[in-house]
């Protein structure tokens, strides 16, 4: 469990950028969507999500905007910025390289031969 937490901690920013890239989203929706898309693997707590969102906004990678709802309430939607898109392209490339390298090392010997053949 602690290992999973560490893995998630290192990839929060990439996960959030990926999700927000598709459409502007608000905090509660992000938590639900991450859980649904990852089939329950990513269960973000608010204490993890909001500091990360605010950090990304401070870095100019996403931008928060208030939107009024028909019932008068307001929600803060986050959308990705140009800077965020550029960061996402870099991070996707890094992830691909990382996954290929991890697979080469971590997979059993028989599977590894298959990967190398490809």
């Amino acid at each position: 469990m602690a290992q999973r937490r560490e893995l998630i901690k290192g990839s929060i920013d990439s996960l959030l950028l990926c999700l927000i890239e598709r459409q502007p989203m608000y905090g509660y929706w992000i938590i639900k969507e991450l859980e649904r898309k990852s089939q329950g693997y990513f269960k973000f707590k608010e204490g993890t999500l909001y500091p990360a969102l605010h950090r990304l906004e401070e870095s100019g990678l996403i931008r928060g905007e208030w939107q009024s709802l028909p019932n008068g309430r307001q929600r803060r939607y986050y959308r990705i910025t140009e800077k965020g898109l550029r960061r996402l392209v870099t991070e996707r490339g890094q992830w691909q390289d990382f996954l290929v390298a991890m697979n080469l090392i971590i997979q059993p010997a028989s599977d590894r031969r298959e990967v190398e053949k490809w």
Partner: protein
Amino acid sequence: MVTALNNYLDSVKENLRLERSLESEVIQELETHIEDEFQELKEDGLSEEEAANTCLTLLGSAKLLARQIYEAHSQGSWTQALLAAMPHVLFGLLFVVNWWRGIGWLLGLLVLVLSMAVYGWWRGKPAWLFPWLGYSLLPVVAAGLLLLYLPHGWSWVAIVIYLPLALWLLYSITVKTIRRDWLYTSLMLLPVPAIIGWFMAVEPINKLPGYWLQSIEDFAPWIGLTFLAFALTVATFIRLRKRWLRVSVLVVSGLLTLTMITYYTEGRLSLPAFLVLVVVMLLLLLSPALVERTLKHTG
């Protein structure tokens, strides 16, 4: 929303220590989030109490959440760091290039300091304001000291009119600053121990004004250096995110500058005087935290 959730939001607000407008945005965002979660849990069949308890478990510690959001916003830009360091740089230059004897420079600096302090105060008290605010209170103290030299029989003016007014002003500004964030009060008071140290080192009491002015001139480069050290401290403070690092930078800077004064004045500041100044420095920099706690408990 149920009381427990409102209390949670109050606790987050109490520990955020952000600018007023940003603080209300954070709270509004969390409030909407909690409402969504609370509503969904109730729709899943939980009672109000169960839904509130589940929400609180998912939210985690209010203090931790507030601290993490604070750290996401606390780092000031380089422009803010420069702006915050500016009054120390200007006071440093005043001594380094010997402008302190020119009344024009002094008046110009005074007007600039007061203008920046008033501007920052009405613009939501950003972090860069507080070093300017500290210097803007210097004339208040200086005027009080000058009143002591009024002709005999006129000291009642100081006691009856000036003293209460000055104390009220200092108290009111300090309390408002502590309510914003006690660390900004420490930032505001940062140069005070060093100013007292230099004041003691140049021995203005019972000496001829000429001797006093000559002493200041002799030490002017080192006095300037002290203020430039504060400029560096303040710029570092603004760029740091974590509160404990910010506190450490202020304390280390206070110790270093007092050591500098003792070293460069070659024995004019005795060891007991140095130690007393260190205690004064620690009290000035750290006691605002205690005052903040008292203010919170008294409402």
